[in-house]
């Protein structure tokens, strides 16, 4: 039985047991003779000692303790948990891509450079942007680069603008990225319709505003219908408009951010472009910009010159390097593969289906869970649990009970401005049957909350573990298995 919990690999370790051995090479110079004592490791690293089967079985069994897209419906809002095509992994991990060294001369890496160049062009086309950098390793790094680009742009114009306006519904990375880039975040209120409050926004715009950062659609799954006016006001004040493209899965093929007055936008390739989330990365957060910001993009950049693709670093206005090497290239290759599988028309069908599925799910759940804003949503919807109507059952309880029904939970308690929030994003790759089954489970839980609320509050009972002591974990952190010196 797996659900008794797995011992750690350290407990399974047996002194002297081996898996991988390296070829013995007689007569090579030895570190025992040549390496000065002060640089030599005294006791070997206390890694586990196990056979290959021990290791394979241990980690395979651990994997079986996870819910995942391949095994479960995973409606985690704002994360776009859509199907990840298998061929993309196969191609990215093939030797002709995975074995390339980042410092290889350009002429030996024309295939990968061409793929990256084409990916940039296609992202420009989908976003209505003029240039893209593929370097940011994740959405949060894309935001950070955007903040640096905005600072560099204003400084070049002789202006020292230090503030960034961010809606109170924004993801926490937005203000954190602003701080990292030495901009002061100013929070802007949302209105009763879940959109940016225009009056509050305009009152906070000033000659100090460097950047306005909007998530479109926003974290409530709603399109900012005043976006053209917001863009115009921002530009009139001399500020730039940044779009957090975390939710681009609702827009690809339907709207170009560049047509909305957006000056720059990052995309999360692990969301819209289907690269595996990997249990929390690696992702990729490319940043697209309009012409007036292109010179500030990070280096190196892929360029095409006389039929040769090259990595160029000599852009004097660039904000610089953001990581050691070009980017999360294996992720970029997967995204390029995904992109090539779809025409513009198909991208539109993807966005439309994502929007349709979210609205359908919302309609199915309406009898039991209130929508925060009762309007059509985009690719995700925000519902609320009402503990007063449900015998004190809260959103967290519903989430835990859902796991027992065999569904991963929606994003919960976010956005922060919505009490008892549940953020559901079904994505376009789920079938109507799955959505129907999920809705039946949700409605059954609502029914349970009325009749046997304790059953819901005690969930989960049937998973590998019950609810865990998070307070204790944070108060007295146990972050690694004890023991540092090898037993052998």
């Amino acid at each position: 039985m797996i659900n008794q919990g797995e011992a750690t690999i350290f407990e399974k370790s047996v002194p002297q047991r081996r898996a991988i051995r390296f070829p013995a090479t007689e007569g090579l110079p030895s570190s025992k003779d040549g390496l000065p004592a002060e640089h030599r490791r005294a006791a070997s690293a206390a890694l586990p000692e196990a056979s290959e089967l021990d290791v394979v079985r241990h980690y395979t069994r651990l994997s079986q303790l996870n819910f995942s897209i391949d095994t479960h419906f995973y409606p985690l809002g704002s994360c776009t948990m859509k199907y990840n095509p298998k061929i993309n992994d196969q191609i990215a991990l093939g030797p002709r891509f995975s074995k390339l060294h980042p410092l290889q001369p350009d002429e030996t890496a024309q295939g990968i450079l061409e793929a990256l160049f084409r990916l940039e062009r296609a992202l420009c086309e989908l976003c209505g942007m003029d240039a893209f950098t593929l370097q940011p390793s994740a959405g949060a790094q894309g935001e950070f680069v955007g903040v640096l680009v905005a600072r560099a742009y204003h400084q070049k114009r002789g202006e020292n603008r230090t503030e960034i306006l961010i809606p109170d519904s924004a993801h926490g990375t937005n203000p954190a990225s602003a701080s990292l880039g030495a901009l002061t975040p100013i929070s802007v209120r949302s209105n009763a319709r879940g959109r940016l409050d225009l009056a509050d926004f305009k009152s906070r715009l000033s000659p100090k505003t460097a950047l306005v950062m909007l998530t479109v659609p926003n974290t409530l799954g709603l399109f900012e219908d005043d976006i053209l006016e917001i863009a115009e006001a921002a530009h009139r004040a001399g500020a730039l408009l940044y779009m957090d493209g975390a939710n681009f899965n609702a827009l690809a093929g339907l709207v170009k951010p560049g047509d909305l007055g957006v000056d720059m936008a990052h995309l999360n390739l692990h969301k819209t472009f289907s690269t595996p989330h990997g249990g929390g990365g690696p992702g990729a957060g490319p940043l697209g910009v309009k012409k007036h910001l292109e010179d500030f993009l990070p280096v190196p950049r892929v360029v095409e010159e006389a039929g040769l693709y090259r990595l160029r670093g000599d852009f004097p206005l660039s904000v610089g390097r953001v990581r050691a090497f070009f980017g999360n290239v294996g992720v970029l290759v997967r995204a390029y593969c995904y992109l090539r599988r779809h025409s513009a028309k198909e991208f539109r069908q993807i966005s439309e289906s994502a929007i349709l599925h979210a609205n359908y799910l919302k309609a199915l759940l309406k009898p039991a869970f209130e929508a925060f804003v009762d309007e059509p949503c985009m690719h995700e919807c925000i519902l609320q649990t009402d503990p007063k109507r449900m015998n004190g059952v809260r959103t967290m309880d519903v989430a835990k009970r859902l796991l027992e029904y065999g569904f991963y939970a929606p994003t919960v308690y976010f956005p922060l401005i919505v009490p008892e929030a549940m953020m559901l994003e079904p994505t376009e790759t789920e079938s109507k049957q799955t959505l129907d089954e999920f809705a039946r489970a949700m409605l059954a839980i609502a029914e349970e909350a009325r009749k046997t609320p304790e059953r819901v509050k005690a969930a989960p009972q049937s998973l590998p573990v019950k609810r865990l002591d998070e307070v204790g974990a944070a108060r007295n952190p146990d972050l690694s298995w004890p023991g540092r010196v090898s037993s052998s």
């Binding site: 090579l28 891509f97 926490g172 079938s431």
Partner: protein
């Protein structure tokens, strides 16, 4: 396309929603921006895509390579990705619902444990983007710690010192991360002898120094006197940040044993292929006293309601989704799948496997260095200095030209240093890991013998 919904189902859904057409759902998008024209290529089937990518792949050459420079190639056992790519690992996300994510959580806990043991450090987080961004985050920890220890100086300039032997791309990344900060000054020290002398460092460290960062082995492959540098930093109250080679930890002194406050490493090579530079894996470890200033995710061991062992994401009060602009970092995810591969890789190698790999790196690179230095016109730039698996080779001509010449024999002899170090224009950085055989070394040496000597030397 991967949309399963049929036209009939679509109509059923629209009816249930209560709208007559899809357009009614997107009324909030400004009319004039809707449905623009796109110029994208036509869609490919899976088979056509495979063909297209094969053709692109054929344009990528894989010569016999002696490139290192911060992304060293190491053998990856087949079991690593066979297990890491299982859908349950690859297609899960951040373990927000711990009860349904115990696999990823326990794995991260084991990863943190292995990183601690590898580096002999007290705490390690769930990983970072790559070695360079990991260093930037570690520097940020040191800056926060400095402010905490010196409340009276808040806002005054803090120095971060590193030698030019730190990877040039890491130095560039530090500049990108901190150049907008009015209270931070980065100071790069020249190292004409290839390593930083502790006495030189001591002349630069003062009471305004928040951190000294150095790599060991350094970018030239040389072993810095890390212990002495660490003591020189500590003497003036600065923290010491060590950048290390994780495979080298099989034989090299770990940073925890010489007192480093923070240690970072690039995980390419720990089960992660170079992939043109990413995805990679940044390891970040520290002394326990710095725990609450550390960036990124941590997984902790705890108990459930029945007292059964279980794992959760913990110390989240530091993170951006709670602290927002006051958090110590904007990092949201880690490189979980790369950490998964690295964990399986380390478990397969074990202490002996890691030692064997590191010993082969040492032995093969030293044999190669001797063979190349024996060829007339070539010499080791930093002669008798100790190195691990990479060395600087002075060539009888411009190193970029030498690289080009050897590429004709399908050999990538190393990385020309001139672009990053103008005083090393005739030098190649050459690396040999356990992936090379003695026959490979001979092939390089024989090809190098044919290199023409430049007239203007």
């Amino acid at each position: 396309m991967f949309v399963p919904t049929t036209e009939k189902e679509r109509q059923e859904m629209l009816r249930k929603i209560g709208v007559g057409s899809f357009d009614e759902l997107v009324g909030s998008i400004p009319e004039k921006a809707r449905n623009p024209a796109y110029r994208l290529p036509k869609a490919l089937t899976e088979m056509e895509l495979a063909r297209h990518m094969e053709a692109l792949g054929a344009q990528n050459r894989l010569p016999l390579s002696f490139l290192g420079g911060g992304a060293q190639e190491h053998y990856i056992p087949a079991a690593v990705w066979a297990v890491a790519l299982r859908g349950e690992f690859a297609t899960a996300y951040t373990p927000y619902q711990a009860e349904a994510s115990q696999g990823t959580l326990q794995l991260i806990y084991e990863f943190q444990s292995m990183v601690c043991r590898l580096l002999e450090m007290e705490v390690a987080n769930a990983s970072h983007y790559d070695g360079a961004s990991a260093l930037a985050e570690a520097v940020n920890v040191a800056l926060l710690d400095f402010d905490g220890r010196n409340p009276g100086r808040r806002g005054a300039v803090k120095k971060v010192i590193f030698p030019e032997t730190l990877h040039p791309h890491y130095r560039a990344t530090l500049k990108t991360y901190f150049h907008q900060r009015a209270d931070v000054r980065l100071e790069c020290l020249p190292c004409p002898d290839g390593t930083l002398a502790p006495s030189v460092l001591a002349g630069y460290v003062d009471d305004s120094t928040a951190a000294v960062a150095a790599s060991c082995p350094n970018f030239f492959g040389l072993l810095e006197p890390a212990g002495e540098l660490c003591r020189a930093a500590h003497a003036r109250g600065a923290l010491f940040i060590a950048c290390v080679d994780p495979v080298g930890m099989g034989i090299l002194e770990p940073p925890g044993s010489y007192g480093a406050d923070l240690a970072v490493a690039e995980g390419i090579g720990l089960g992660i292929p170079p992939s043109f530079g990413g995805p990679s894996l940044g390891l970040v470890a520290a002394k326990r006293s710095l725990l609450r200033k550390m960036p990124g995710r941590f997984c902790g061991l705890t108990a459930d309601r029945d007292g059964r062992r279980g794992y959760v994401l913990t110390l989240q009060a530091r993170e951006q989704h709670i602290r927002r602009e006051k958090s110590s970092s904007n990092v949201c995810t880690n490189q979980a799948l790369c950490a998964t591969a690295a964990t399986i890789h380390m478990a397969l190698l074990g202490p002996e496997g890691l030692r064997e790999a590191a010993e082969l790196c040492y032995g093969l690179s030293h044999e190669l260095a001797s063979a190349l230095a024996d060829i007339p016109g070539f010499r080791l730039k930093f002669g008798g200095a100790s190195f691990y698996n990479e060395f600087v080779l002075q060539c009888p001509q411009d190193a970029s030209q030498a690289q080009k010449f050897l590429l004709k024999d399908d050999i990538l002899a190393g990385y020309p240093l001139g672009a990053d170090y103008p005083w090393l224009k005739d030098c190649l950085l050459v690396c040999a890991t356990e992936t090379k055989t003695r026959a490979d070394l001979r092939r390089l040496a024989e090809a190098a013998r044919k290199l023409p000597v430049a007239a203007a030397r």
